[in-house]
């Protein structure tokens, strides 16, 4: 059953089938083209049409009440002849005009290489070659592009040479199936869709081939943490290097070089279908419906998208992408109108760049979310120290889930949908996402405010500490581990820092903080003094002060040694409020003090909240406040300006043999001698080990303080025994020294 229309043909009303009418129109158009340069062409065409009308009348007379069918038109056209078949005498011009003939009958191009003047992006070189080889010019172009990129421009040079050398000629296209990009099925540039049509496979197959290595390498690099850490600019490396990278490059080249199938003819060529009126008509109808459907889909998707994000932060990311797309769709007609292939290439590169930027944004957000979640798990135990009460807890979970997770989930969903080409009719998903995200945002803001509020005020409590002056006039500060068991809380694999971080005790209801600072200043009198100042923050002054008072920094004095713990304990009830301890030691000028090496393990940081925002300071090894890096573990003398380290070891220290103590060893034929030096050489200790014949003699000279004296002889024979004895002697000597 076919549609019948009435046409006004040569002044008569002719009922004719729609399809037959199309054929007729095509025929007259071809005639028009054929006679385009002919003088009197209007008359000729009119005459021919007249003849056709006559034949129509005859046919209608034969079937009264009928109409002109395809068959009739076919027969008429066959008998009248198609333009190419005309014995054109003197109509060479008409022949040359007939490039767009339906069937490529006609003389074959001569068997030498030309540049194709009819089908050129730059100079028609590729399409000329393609014509010679009877393959799709697009394929030749892709090959040229690959050679150019891969061979560092050799393809380019080759192209220029060919451009200069080959003559130009108008060659008719002789290929049936051509490689196009399919605009109807595109996520990025329709490359995968076009390839799918050309090879007659499903669309997702080439898409998967392109996407899979890329995704795999992305994921693996994230897991290996080389994403950010290994390269300076890790992200593009992942995209552009390796197997996935090569595919990306190929995709971009294809995007630039392969043309988009816009007209019905091109679409048919893409699918390799026969190009005639029937198929063109079907294709056009399909496209019309497709356009409608696409407009609908686009409108829906657009609404959904706008709602899904409904907020500026993630909207920015989307906006860039959408704007990029809008810009690129605007650019595309521009690049076509400009007609030059170079512009088109640039346009594609532009599009790629936008895509790149927007995907970076989405990826960064994903990574951020991952990092935050990671932190959240790590900080779970710490959480209760910071947050007060249930309300805060709820807010915290809300923020993480909704604020961070929702945009990422939405982006992933959108991406998957685009890839699979699924349309979703409902806006509910978008609404739900958008409102959840808003809730998340609000709760995050409230939470932030709450937390900041709890750190607003700082208060301090100072305690003077009773110190007895050490009997020797020297003081040593030793840092010991506190009581109870504490576990390390290590979030990151920072193996290169021996900073123990924050520790927990077994019950998880108290935390061990090491925010301690030790400062040594000259004393105003000739006595040692010490004071402990405890800092804490809080909602208001009194709360802060209360918190400061609640925690203890216990210490112990043992004549000349002051024992302080490596950290102080705060309980969950008091919460973490940036508690700090400042230990101030006043050392009389001229006296010496030595601070345990472990003072460097203290990590001081302070959170300042003022009008200009939040300011976090922390002590590293280099900061001024605790310049213990150079001085820790060494004896220092207090001067007017501060502590000065003393290189040589001091007499009191003979009791222990420590790093950095000077021990001189002399070995000669007489034996080994150990000297432990002291500053005034009065207290030198000396140990002599002599071997005489087969006996070893050990003599110890001690000072008046130590009580070591000994003279031991041991009978040994044989060298090895001597060596053993030496070793054993050394060990026992050292033992003695330590007493």
């Amino acid at each position: 059953m076919k549609k019948v229309i009435n046409i006004n043909f040569q002044g008569r009303v002719v009922p004719i089938e729609e399809s037959a009418y199309e054929m007729l129109k095509e025929y007259t158009n071809s005639l028009r083209r054929y006679f385009a340069n002919e003088e009197g062409k209007e008359e000729i065409i009119n005459d021919i049409e007249n003849r056709i009308a006559e034949l129509f009348m005859e046919d209608l007379k034969k079937n009264p009440g009928g109409c002109i069918t395809d068959d009739v038109v076919d027969k008429i056209v066959a008998s009248m002849g198609r333009p190419e078949e005309f014995d054109g005498d003197g109509t060479e011009a008409a022949k040359e005009n007939n490039e767009k003939s339906f069937e490529s009958a006609g003389a074959e191009p001569k068997a030498s290489l030309y540049r194709n003047a009819n089908d050129k992006v730059l100079g028609g070189v590729c399409s000329g070659i393609a014509n010679q080889l009877k393959i799709d010019p697009t394929i030749v172009r892709v090959l040229f592009a690959l050679i150019t990129f891969g061979g560092f421009g050799t393809g380019f040079l080759l192209y220029i040479i060919l451009w200069i050398v080959l003559p130009e000629k108008g060659i008719k296209a002789t290929v049936r199936k051509r490689l196009y990009r399919n605009p109807d099925v595109k996520v990025f540039g329709g490359v995968a869709g076009g390839l799918a049509s050309y090879f007659n496979v499903a669309v997702w197959i080439p898409r998967l081939i392109f996407a899979l290595p890329l995704i795999v390498s992305l994921l693996s690099s994230v897991f290996r943490r080389s994403f950010f850490f290994d390269h300076d600019f890790g992200f593009p490396n992942v995209v552009f290097s390796g197997f996935g990278g090569t595919l990306t490059l190929i995709y971009i080249i294809l995007w630039i070089v392969v043309p988009e199938a816009k007209t019905a003819t091109e679409k048919l060529e893409m699918r390799g279908e026969k190009i005639d009126l029937e198929s063109i008509k079907h294709s056009v109808q399909e496209e019309l419906q497709g356009v409608k459907g696409r407009a609908q889909k686009f409108g829906q998707e657009f609404k959904e998208k706008a709602k899904e994000f409904g907020n500026e932060v993630s909207n920015k990311g989307k906006e860039v992408k959408d704007r990029g797309k809008a810009l690129s769709t605007e650019l595309t007609p521009v690049t076509q109108r400009a007609g030059s292939g170079l512009l088109h290439a640039l346009g594609v590169l532009f599009k790629v760049f936008f895509l790149f930027v927007s995907s970076i944004i989405v990826l960064v957000m994903t990574v951020l979310l991952g990092a935050v979640l990671f932190l959240a798990f790590g900080a779970y135990d710490v959480k209760d120290f910071i947050l007060e009460g249930n309300w805060d807890n709820i807010l915290a979970w809300n923020s993480i889930l909704f604020f961070m997770a929702v945009p990422v989930i939405a982006a992933v969903v959108w991406f998957i949908r685009r890839l699979a080409g699924i349309k979703s009719k409902s806006h509910y998903l978008g609404y739900a996402f958008g409102s959840l995200w808003l809730i998340g945002l609000v709760s995050m803001i409230i939470l932030a405010f709450n937390i900041i509020r709890d750190f607003k005020r700082m208060a301090s409590v100072k305690e003077n500490v009773e110190i007895q002056n050490p009997s020797k006039g020297r003081m040593m500060i030793s840092i010991d581990a506190p009581e109870g068991k504490y576990y390390d809380l290590k979030w990151f694999d920072d193996d290169d820092r021996d900073d123990p971080g924050i520790k927990f005790n077994a019950n998880e209801d108290s935390m061990l903080l090491n925010t301690v600072r030790v400062i040594a200043v000259p004393s105003k009198d000739s006595f040692f003094h010490a004071s402990i100042t405890k800092y804490a923050r809080g909602n208001n002054g009194s709360l802060a002060e209360g918190t400061a008072q609640k925690f203890q920094f216990p210490f112990q004095q043992d004549d000349s040694v002051l024992h302080i713990p490596s950290g102080f304990v705060i309980s969950k009830k008091e919460h973490f409020r940036n508690q700090r301890v400042l230990l101030l030691i006043e050392v009389p000028v001229g006296k010496m003090i030595k601070v345990d090496r472990k003072v460097n393990a203290y990590g001081w940081f302070s959170v300042n909240v003022n009008q200009s925002g939040i300011n976090i300071q922390s002590d590293d090894d280099w900061s001024e406040g605790s310049n213990w890096y150079k001085l820790a573990g060494k004896w220092c003398t207090m001067t007017e300006q501060g502590l000065v380290s003393v290189d040589k070891s001091s007499p009191d220290d003979q009791d222990t043999l420590e790093d950095g103590d000077d021990v001189e060893v002399q070995i000669d034929e007489n034996g080994m001698r150990f000297y432990k030096k002291s500053t005034d050489h009065k207290d030198d200790r000396k140990i002599e080990i002599k071997a005489k014949d087969s006996s070893v003699n050990i003599k110890l000279n001690a000072s008046e303080n130590g009580k070591m004296e000994g003279d031991e002889t041991e009978d040994v024979s044989g060298v090895t025994k001597k060596v053993n004895v030496y070793t054993r002697a050394m060990i026992s000597v050292l033992d003695l020294l330590r007493k």
């Binding site: 040569q10 002044g11 008569r12 005639l31 054929y34 006679f35 002919e38 003088e39 009197g40 008359e43 000729i44 005459d47 021919i48 007249n50 003849r51 009308a53 006559e54 009348m57 005859e58 007379k61 008998s79 009248m80 002849g81 198609r82 333009p83 078949e85 005309f86 014995d87 054109g88 005498d89 109509t91």
Partner: protein
């Protein structure tokens, strides 16, 4: 070399001459002309004929008039003008010369052919 090309060229050469002959015999319209040609085993397409007729008309060798017809659109009936007749005469002479020459060269007997032509010439 394509034989069809050469054959078509040969036919093209005599086309005008034949058409003018037909029209000379009496008023004719394009369909008629095609019929006649077909009868003489010289097939020609409408698309070739119409332009040719138009050219001849534009060169004042032909003239036409419209004749209404009952069953269809009006038709053009062509006839020779004076100029056309003269033109035809010259073509006829040329044809004779050429035919003789070809006969000679290809070695077909020429005597009877000449005589027939001579008779025709007289009737012009």
């Amino acid at each position: 070399m394509n034989i069809e090309n050469t054959q078509s060229q040969m036919r093209k050469g005599v086309l005008e001459f034949c058409i003018l002959s037909i029209i000379k015999r009496g008023e004719a319209y394009p369909s008629d002309i095609i019929e006649e040609m077909k009868k003489a085993n010289l097939n020609i397409l409408e698309g070739t004929l119409y332009p040719l007729l138009t050219r001849l008309k534009n060169a004042d060798l032909l003239s036409y008039r419209w004749v209404e017809s009952t069953g269809g659109p009006p038709r053009k009936y062509f006839s020779l003008t004076e100029k056309g007749a003269a033109f035809y005469g010259e073509l006829y002479a040329t044809w004779n010369e050429m035919a003789n020459a070809v006969q000679l060269i290809t070695g077909n007997g020429d005597a009877s052919f000449n005589q027939t032509n001579a008779t025709n010439t007289d009737n012009v």
